[in-house]
Structures are given as structure tokens and as C-alpha cells.
């Protein structure tokens, strides 16, 4: 059973406070009663019609003809759209790469991946919309497909786009690279491959669009998670001004994990469908569509070279990265490649880093955000390489890591690539993890197992968990001379509005549409502490609305940002509102405002006198004449928190790509069954640090859930394509999402090293678990199979594959 051990070094919090408590989630009250309102649960407008997409059965082909006449003649069909129709109505989506593809929501002239939408039908019901698809006739001229990122770069590879398969290419160099590799006593070279998988949220994409012809404006409801950089992208493509395109996101979202960032092409298609049909249109994605054509992270080939000295110091790392973006590189990509820019050196203090970074297009689903976003794939290679370097110098992998860790007294730490790590105690986390894991005992057990011919292995991974992405980082895709022609980009912001209503009840509005992370609850905890009121006095309105809420392009719930910027915005808004309340109280109590304390729903003066918050609110609303001059009536404030050092990229391609940097250490012990290839997890420990913990249960849930995604991707799930580009896993039968029976037991613990950059000291934590899991499992299995001479350089580690590797190794003569 998952066990959470005590917290170390909890920072001092207000004794009477709610922050830091395992405060039962407020969202749960409605969710456990089945009263959550997910996208398919409410009809915001009447006369809703239904949209269905006809999708390509081919990975690559020319569209010779599309005959929609039979479908159009059906009584229950309002209209049918093809890619050609869409291309007349909109521009392709903008994307910041050197050779951008033309990307529309429906295929235009060509299909480029299995499941790409080819036509859209608006009908009276969702069942009949599906029926109508069967009467659309499409003639394809099949083309050869290419699915491998290296093959796609060969001269004779099938070309997906006129702009070529290579959408982007950058070489980045930081620090004394030549020296590092020349001076090294060992240079380790390895090639790693990382597969495609997806967090596959239980709720799929959902969009409702209502185009209003009189005003030429549209309202869209969807479970889009952000980033809201996509709002101007969609508006721009549709040729609409942003204030005519209202994006609304409801409070309840059945999981996102990054995948729901890429719903925006479907939003555009649904808006146009509603415009064309003259009725509001709804689309709920099926699971098969979700696996085929939503988004997942890039698969990749990652060649790495590590320079290490005999005494175990990492001198430098070089990476040659071929990122497989599927059929279209689309905004906000190539984030998969560059999101870890600031933390490419991970937890280590080497200062020479560089690489060649290729964004390759192939006949697969277009890639996008998936939990971990660029880090889990990258760390898989790096942490494997670290183990290999440790092996080359005959050091224990945990000792090797410790030797290279950035020290606790080196913060704030500037990385060679422009990152500014805010705080951390990496060595302490490792030490704690080893204690919980009983590392020494496992070393003995491994010895014993090896004597008996059993395959028992220990794995370690250490990872930096960046959160609150700086919007400027994606511009690294363009070389400096190109960037100069445009405008600099930066920022990680969050806006919160807070109001005390006349009866003293409080409304807190977030600019985030959470998908299970409990934002309504942690926002309540923070606001309650700040204003000194009961949590029940507060209503938190999560979700988004581009017309009615305060927001900016970086708003949204992604890159684990709420705990950094969201919490901060709530805290600061609360401070501001609290200030106003204290000033009003001071006026009423005839005491200095800075001597007033807000607690227990009252404002307490220095001499024991007090008034209720209700009285303060009453004054602010009912008798504004009594307010101090500089306090506006209405008791409402809006605060936009902005990460200070989320500044634009410099001309040396350096940028602090995230706002805060959590981290974690994972240790795992596995035993491999040589007869079946199955991997049994014996023990799994994770020690993480996300700074100040506002709600420990929520943090545990994020770590455990994140680990589970990485575990699933390492051992069970794969979005596998065959050589013709057909997706092999398009149902939950074939895409092997693990059940409770497969779930490992994980022991978690936390350090709390507050971030100096956020007022509460909290940092994001949602992705930490999954960033370290694939690497730690691979390291353990590699260790386990070391006596058999088997090396692990790719995933997933399904039983059949392990068995085959063992057999091949035995045939080759086995152990090293």
C-alpha cells in the first residue's frame, strides 16, 4: 500500500492556518455525488447539434475526391465540411519553427496520419452524425508512409510537406564543450529511444461552439487546459478578433495532463461548423479518436555523449536529438524538445552542455504536451547515461549522482543554459530516499540474487521538476538572427480576482481550468489564511473565460504552474484585499491599519477591540462614504502575479525557461522473471521537494499519479504504429492502461525547501513523479540484467521484449 512517511522540515506556518493541512477537497463534495459538470454534462445553449469527424484510414495519401452529396441529402444532416472548405475560411495555424507545415484542423488535399480528420458532419444527434459519416465517399491515392524519425530525414523518404519533413533544426552550445570532451578520461556514447504513450485522461476532448451571425462572434465551451497562447493563435487563424472569440472552460475537467492543450484545432473546426450550420454544435471525442488524433509526447532517438573524469566528475554532455513530432509540428511546439532548456543539466553541476536538436515530421499523430513534457523523455537518456558514466568509473550510481549534485549552498544556481534554480537540497533527498529504501540491504539482496542466478536490480533517478514555463523559451527554435526580426517573448503569469461581497462571503476567481489538482481547495486554504476567515466563507471559481476573467497568454493549467504562479496570485490578491480590509477596519476602530490582524472572521485591533468582516464588507458596500479616501468601494481586487526572472531569451540562447524548480529522487528495486520476461517491482521509493506544501494529500496524489503514468509508459502502454503507419493501439484493449491489479506500491516522502521566488514558497509538483519514473525503471532493469549482458536503451519493457533480449544475449554468449 502506498505509504506516506512524515514530512521533514516543514516551514513555519501560522498555527491557526489551513495551509499545510490535509484539507479535504471541496471539489469532492460534488464530484463524488456525480454532480460534476464535465463537457458532456451540460447544455449551455439550446438547439445543440452534433458534430462527427470522418477520419483517414491511411497514414499517408492524396485525397483524390470527397463526395459529400449523399450525406448532405440526409434529413438529419445540416451541413458537411471538408478541408477545402476550411482552408477557404481560415489560415493555417501559426507555429514558431523554421520550416512550418501548413496545418489545418481537417486534411487539405493530403492525409498525413492514421485518423486525421477529413470531413466534418453536423447532424441532429450524435448517433445520426456517426451514421452520416458512412455516406461520405473519399477516394485516396495511397502514398508510402514513414514513421521513423531517422528514416524521415533520408533523401528518399516520403515527404509529408512541401516544406520538407525537417521542421526545425538548432545547434546549441554552452560552456567549455571542447575542453570537457578532450579532458575527459572517459567518453560514454549511447543511443536511446523513447516511445510514444499518453496520459489518456478518462474524459476525452469536448467542444461546444455557438457562432452568432449578427455579431460575427463565437462562444466556445471546451475542456481546453491552456496555455492561452493558443487563443490568439486560433483567433488569428480564424481571422477573428480575440474579443469576438470567447473561450470558456468549465470548472470540471476529467483529466488533462497536457493532452488537452491540443484541442484547439478542434475548437477552430467546431466554430466554423457552427458558423456554416447556423446552429450551435457539440463534439465529444471518442476514445478511439483520442488515441488516434488528440496529442501525445514526441517519441525520439536521443544520442548522447557524456564526458567524465576518473574521479567521477561529469565534465560535459552532448545530445543529438531527433524528436518525432508526427504529421505536423504545431504550436506550442517544439516545446517537447526545448521545455527542459534551463534544466538540461538536471541536478548536476557540470557546465559544458550542447546538442543538435531536430524536429522531424512523420506519418503519426501530431505531438503535443503530455505530462512531463520534454523532461521525461530527455531524462530517460540522461539518467541512463549517468548510470553508464558511473559504471565506467566504477562508482555506485547513487554515490556518483551525489558527487555531481549541485550543493545546497549553491542556490540560486545558474545553469549553463540560462536556468536559475531557486532552491533545493538534492543530496538530502537522496539520503532520505536511500534510508527509506534501505539501500544497503538491497545491495546485499542483489548480491544474493546474483549468486542464485536471479535477476534483481536497483535503479535510481534524480530529476529537476521545472514548473511555470516561461513563454519565451519556445523562441529558441529560431536562431538569434531570426529572433531579432520579431518581438521578444517572456512571462509566466497568473491572475486572480478576489471579492468580498456585501454579506462578507468571498469569491475567488482563478485563471486556471484544473483537471484534478484541487485548485479550488488550495486556493481556499491560502485565501482563508490570508483573510482570517472560515474556508466555507469562500467560493472559488475555477475555469476560464477569455471575456470575463482576468488572464494573459500564459494563463492556464499546464507545466505544473498553479502551485507556483497560481498560489502566488491567490496569496498576493489576498494580501491586497486584506490590506483594504485592515484599512477599513482601522478607520472604524480608530486604530492604525498595520496594527490590525485578521483572524476568526474578525479584524482585531491592538487593544482587544474587534469588528466582524461582515461589518467591514457592509461598510465597503453599503456606506462607501465612510471609507478611507484611497480605498475603493466594493472590496474587490485583482492581482496578476508574474515570475520575476521569466525574461526573454538572450542572444546566446540562454533563458530561464521555468519559474520554479522542484526536484525528486526515485529508487526502485525490481526482479525480472527470466522465463516470462515479467518485471516485478519489489520496492519503490520517491522523495520529492516542491517547496512549501499547501495540501499534503494533494501533493502525494500528484506524485503517486505521476509515477503511475511513467510506470505505465515504461512497462505497459505504447502508441505503436506499424510500418504502414497504422496505429496498433486504438482502444483500451490494445492500449494497455494498467488496472489496480498492476499498480505498484510506492513509498513517498517530501522535503520542503521553500522557493524564494514565490510568496508562499510553493512550487509545482504535478509532473515530478512521471519525469523520473521511466528512467528509474530502465536503470533498475538494466542493472538486473547486467549479468546477462543485456542493456536497456529503450522502452516499453514488455515481457516479450525482455524475454527476447535475454534470449538474444544468451545466443550471443551472454555476460560481459
Amino acid at each position: 500500500m502506498s505509504e506516506t512517511v512524515g514530512r521533514e522540515d516543514a516551514p513555519e506556518t501560522d498555527d491557526a492556518g489551513v495551509v499545510g493541512d490535509a484539507f479535504g477537497r471541496r471539489e469532492d463534495d460534488r464530484l463524488v455525488r456525480g454532480e460534476g459538470k464535465y463537457m458532456d454534462d451540460f447544455d449551455p445553449v439550446g438547439n445543440l447539434h452534433h458534430l462527427a469527424f470522418l477520419r483517414s484510414p491511411l497514414a499517408h495519401g492524396k485525397i483524390e475526391s470527397i463526395d459529400t452529396s449523399a450525406a448532405e441529402q440526409r434529413d438529419d444532416v445540416v451541413c458537411v465540411l471538408t478541408g477545402t472548405d476550411l482552408a477557404e475560411r481560415m489560415d493555417p495555424f501559426a507555429v514558431g519553427v523554421q520550416n512550418p507545415p501548413e496545418y489545418y484542423p481537417l486534411a487539405v488535399d493530403k492525409v498525413r496520419y492514421d485518423g486525421e480528420p477529413v470531413a466534418a458532419v453536423v447532424a441532429t444527434s450524435k448517433y445520426t452524425a456517426k451514421d452520416a459519416l458512412e455516406s461520405i465517399d473519399v477516394e485516396y491515392d495511397r502514398l508510402d508512409a514513414v514513421t521513423d524519425e531517422l528514416e524521415a530525414l533520408e533523401d528518399d523518404a516520403p515527404q509529408l510537406h512541401e516544406s520538407g519533413n525537417l521542421a526545425n533544426e538548432r545547434t546549441l552550445e554552452y560552456g567549455p564543450l571542447d575542453e570537457a570532451f578532450e579532458e575527459a578520461d572517459h567518453v560514454i556514447e549511447s543511443e536511446f529511444e523513447f516511445p510514444r504513450y499518453t496520459s489518456a485522461p478518462m474524459e476525452t476532448y469536448g467542444v461546444i461552439a455557438e457562432y452568432d451571425h449578427p455579431t460575427d462572434a463565437a462562444t466556445v465551451w471546451s475542456n481546453f487546459q491552456g496555455p492561452f497562447t493558443m487563443h490568439p493563435v486560433v483567433a488569428g487563424a480564424l481571422g477573428m478578433s480575440q474579443n469576438d472569440l470567447q473561450f470558456k472552460v468549465p470548472s470540471d475537467n476529467g483529466g488533462s495532463f497536457g493532452v488537452k492543450a491540443h484541442i484547439y484545432p478542434y475548437i477552430a473546426a467546431t466554430v466554423i461548423a457552427s458558423e456554416e450550420a447556423g446552429v450551435p454544435v457539440k463534439w465529444i471525442e471518442s476514445r478511439r479518436e483520442h488515441l488516434q488524433a488528440s496529442a501525445c509526447h514526441t517519441d525520439r532517438t536521443q544520442r548522447m555523449r557524456g564526458a567524465v573524469s576518473d574521479d567521477g566528475q561529469i565534465l560535459g554532455v552532448w545530445v543529438e536529438l531527433y524528436d518525432n513530432f508526427g504529421a505536423y509540428v504545431r504550436a506550442p511546439e517544439p516545446g517537447n524538445t526545448f521545455r527542459p532548456l534551463a534544466n538540461y543539466v538536471n541536478t548536476y553541476d557540470f557546465d559544458a552542455f550542447g546538442g543538435e536538436f531536430y524536429a522531424v515530421q512523420t506519418n503519426k499523430c501530431p505531438a503535443g504536451l503530455n505530462r512531463g513534457y520534454g523532461c521525461h523523455q530527455y531524462y530517460f537518456g540522461l539518467e541512463r547515461l549517468v548510470d553508464q558514466m558511473a559504471d565506467a568509473v566504477d562508482m555506485d550510481p547513487t554515490e556518483f549522482r551525489k558527487r555531481n549534485f549541485i550543493d545546497a549552498d549553491e542556490f540560486p544556481y545558474e545553469t549553463p543554459t540560462g536556468g536559475e534554480y531557486d532552491s533545493g537540497r538534492y543530496a538530502d533527498a537522496l539520503k532520505r530516499a536511500k534510508e527509506l529504501f534501505d539501500y544497503e540491504s538491497y545491495l546485499e539482496r542483489r548480491e544474493q540474487a546474483r549468486e542464485e542466478g536471479r535477476y534483481l536490480g536497483i535503479g535510481c533517478s534524480a530529476i529537476i521538476d521545472p514548473s511555470a514555463s516561461n513563454m519565451g523559451y519556445v523562441s529558441v527554435a529560431m536562431p538569434p538572427e531570426e529572433r531579432e526580426k520579431g518581438h521578444p517573448k517572456s512571462g509566466a503569469v497568473s491572475s486572480v480576482t478576489m471579492m468580498v461581497q456585501p454579506d462578507a462571503s468571498i469569491v475567488v476567481e482563478l485563471d486556471s481550468a484544473p483537471s484534478g489538482q484541487g485548485h479550488e481547495t488550495t486556493a481556499t486554504q491560502i485565501a482563508a489564511d490570508e483573510l482570517g476567515v472560515e474556508p466555507e466563507a469562500i467560493n472559488v471559481i475555477s475555469g476560464m473565460d477569455t471575456n470575463e476573467k482576468a488572464w494573459s497568454v500564459s494563463s492556464g493549467s499546464y507545466s505544473s504552474r498553479f502551485a507556483s504562479v497560481g498560489h502566488s496570485a491567490v496569496k498576493k490578491a489576498g494580501e491586497r484585499l486584506g490590506d483594504q480590509m485592515r484599512r477599513i477596519a482601522g478607520e472604524l476602530l480608530d486604530a492604525p491599519a498595520d496594527a490590525i490582524e485578521l483572524a476568526d472572521g474578525r479584524a482585531h485591533g491592538p487593544d482587544g477591540e474587534s469588528i466582524s468582516v461582515r461589518r467591514i464588507a457592509g461598510t465597503a458596500h453599503w456606506n462607501p462614504a465612510a471609507l478611507p479616501d484611497d480605498v475603493q468601494p466594493g472590496l474587490r481586487t485583482q492581482y496578476t502575479f508574474s515570475m520575476e526572472d521569466s525574461t526573454p531569451i538572450d542572444e546566446d540562447d540562454r533563458i530561464n525557461s521555468s519559474g520554479t524548480y522542484g526536484y525528486g529522487v526515485q529508487l526502485i528495486a525490481v526482479e525480472v522473471d527470466a522465463t516470462t520476461g515479467e518485471i516485478d517491482v519489489l520496492d519503490y521509493v520517491a522523495v520529492h521537494d516542491c517547496g512549501t506544501i499547501v495540501n499534503p494529500q494533494i501533493v502525494d496524489g500528484q506524485i503517486e499519479g505521476g509515477i503511475f503514468h511513467g510506470f505505465a509508459g515504461a512497462l505497459y502502454e505504447e502508441l505503436e504504429y506499424d510500418s504502414s503507419g497504422t496505429l496498433q493501439a486504438d482502444t483500451f484493449m490494445d492500449y494497455a492502461v494498467p488496472t489496480a491489479k498492476e499498480a505498484p506500491d510506492v513509498t513517498t516522502d517530501h522535503l520542503e525547501t521553500p522557493s524564494p521566488k514565490t510568496p508562499l514558497g510553493s512550487k509545482g509538483t504535478g509532473e515530478a513523479g512521471t519525469e523520473g519514473a521511466p528512467a528509474v525503471i530502465a536503470n533498475a532493469v538494466d542493472d538486473a540484467l547486467d549479468p546477462a549482458g543485456v542493456e536497456i536503451t529503450s522502452l516499453p519493457l514488455k515481457p516479450q521484449r525482455i524475454w527476447t533480449l535475454l534470449n538474444e544475449s544468451a545466443a550471443d554468449g551472454g555476460a560481459d
Binding site: D131, R288, T676, P738, K741, E742, P799, Q800
Partner: protein, 294 residues
């Protein structure tokens, strides 16, 4: 995600079911629907009529008879799995069912629907092959009984006319498999990726022993690797032995020889090897259960 249109035709008796099957051209029977409904939802199956026999009470039973346990076509997997006569007299069948899909699916899926579908990856098939129940059918020509090894022809193919339906089966009690034996044991072993997945390998084994723990009778069937395979040479390899290491090795080798994996390359090799490995496990467990009863 949404099935094509069809007409739902509920029937209340076997006779009505036969009449409906004769009357409608493009019709399927629906019992539990746990295989049919997903096929309809993905539009791999789009019959115009669905003849719903789900309410025919007389087909819902699991009953002990003299030498057999009688199972009605509409007995659900869960009902069969938990029925005392099955646990007592045909334990491997109960053990097998517990590994099929998941609890909610087993609550709705039926014996008749599963048997008639004859999915080669289905867990039932190896168990049926070693037990060889009498399958009871009825149709316009009346009732008939067919032993399973004649009823099951191949992948998704059974001896059943268009207007016929399975009404039930007589599952022989284990003790009748080798009436002179001192004790009998049985098991179903499954190798699959996740709980409830279709098997990569499914092995059913029945072992009868005499008083000095020698195997007198072995029945071994391997499913899911390729065509359903009765591993007769493996059976011969263990009969007359005390299931020592050599006998098990020989049996595993014979199983590997006998199965015909439908995948090529390393996938096929793996399944072949696992067939041997899980056959060994099945034989060992069945044997242990038999000797425990001595």
C-alpha cells in the same frame, strides 16, 4: 462509438427465438452482449435485428445432475464461477472464469454467448476442450446434442445452423473423466499482460492420479497461441509418471512442438515458449491438487 440502427426484438421463449431467427434475414441473437455490443459500437457488426433472448428464464440455471453439471445458455460467467457444483466438480472452469475480463463484464456475459462465439483467444476454449461437455442446441428441426470437440470447428466457427441456438451444456464432473483414478486435480493457467486481458497463452489441465501418485490420465489444452490445441503428446509424456522434472520437460517440449503461433518472428517464438512454460505450471498445479486429495 455508436451502433448502427437495428430493431430490438425481445423474445420470451425458446420457440419465439427460433421463429424470430427464421423470420429475420439479418439478425443476431443477443444474450449478454459483452462481445456483440462492442462489435456493434465499432460497427464491425451491424445486424438489422437483435433478437434479445436475455429474459428467457428457462435458460438461466447451473444445476448438478448425476454425472454432470448442467449449465444453461444464459447462466452468466459470475453465476457459473460461483456455483458450488462447478467449484466442486469442475474447479478449473471456475478458476478460468475468474480470470476473464472483469467483474462487471462477467456479471452480464453468458455461457451460451461465449461458447457460440468461439473466440480463439477466449479463456473458455481450452477448458471446454479438456472437459468436452455435451453442447445442447435447439432449432426448427428440434433439439440436438453435440460434443464440444465436434461443436467447435475453428476460429469463430461452430456447428450451428442459422436458426439454431445453444440452450446449454452438460459439463462432465471431473471425477467422471477418469472414474478409476484415486484422485483428480485441475487448473486453468493464463498468461496475459494485464488483469482481464485476452490471453497470450491459456492452458487447461486435468490430471488424474492413482494411489501412489502416478499420473493415470492427463488432459491438456492450449488456447490463444494459435488454433486451439489439444496437446496429446504432452499428455502421453506425463501419463505413467510421477510428474518428475523429465516428464515436465518432455511435456513442455511437446507443447511447444504442438502449438502453431499465429504471429511470426519474436512474438511467435515468445508465445510458443510461454505455451511450454505455462503448460508445465498447469500440469504441476493440477497434479498437486490431485495428490492433495489422496
Amino acid at each position: 462509438m455508436y451502433p448502427s440502427k437495428f430493431e430490438h426484438v425481445p423474445v420470451q421463449s425458446i420457440d419465439d427465438a427460433i421463429t424470430a431467427l427464421e423470420e429475420y434475414d439479418d439478425a443476431e441473437l443477443i444474450a449478454g452482449g459483452q462481445s456483440l455490443v462492442p462489435l456493434q459500437k465499432t460497427r464491425f457488426a451491424s445486424p438489422d435485428h437483435l433478437i434479445d433472448i436475455g429474459d428467457i428464464d428457462e435458460l438461466q440455471y447451473v444445476e448438478e445432475a448425476d454425472e454432470a453439471v448442467r449449465v444453461g445458455a444464459l447462466a452468466t460467467h459470475t453465476e457459473i464461477q460461483q456455483a458450488p457444483p462447478i467449484k466442486t466438480h469442475a474447479y478449473l472452469f471456475s478458476e478460468c472464469i475468474g480470470q476473464i475480463a472483469d467483474w462487471p463484464v462477467r456479471n452480464q456475459g453468458t455461457f451460451g454467448g461465449t461458447i457460440a462465439e468461439a473466440d480463439p483467444s477466449g479463456d473458455y476454449l481450452p477448458v471446454m476442450q479438456v472437459l468436452n461437455p455435451e453442447i445442447e442446441l435447439t432449432g426448427p428441426e428440434g433439439d440436438r446434442t453435440v460434443p464440444f470437440d465436434e461443436f467447435y470447428i475453428g476460429m469463430f466457427t461452430v456447428d450451428m445452423a442459422d436458426a439454431e441456438l445453444v440452450t446449454g451444456a452438460r459439463i462432465p464432473k471431473l471425477e467422471t473423466v477418469a472414474p478409476d483414478a484415486a484422485a483428480v486435480g485441475s487448473t486453468y493457467k493464463k498468461h496475459a499482460e494485464r488483469s482481464g486481458d485476452y490471453a497470450l497463452v491459456g492452458v487447461a489441465a486435468i490430471i488424474a492420479v492413482d494411489a501412489d501418485e502416478t499420473v493415470t490420465d492427463a488432459k491438456l489444452s492450449v488456447g490463444a497461441v494459435g488454433p486451439l490445441t489439444r496437446a496429446e503428446e504432452a499428455e502421453a509424456a506425463v501419463e505413467g509418471t510421477a510428474l518428475d522434472g523429465d516428464a515436465l520437460d518432455a511435456a513442455a517440449a511437446a507443447v511447444r512442438e504442438a502449438v502453431l503461433p499465429d504471429e511470426e518472428g519474436s512474438e511467435g517464438e515468445y508465445k510458443e515458449a510461454m505455451a511450454g512454460g505455462f503448460a508445465e505450471r498447469a500440469l504441476q498445479t493440477a497434479y498437486d491438487r490431485a495428490t492433495e486429495n489422496l
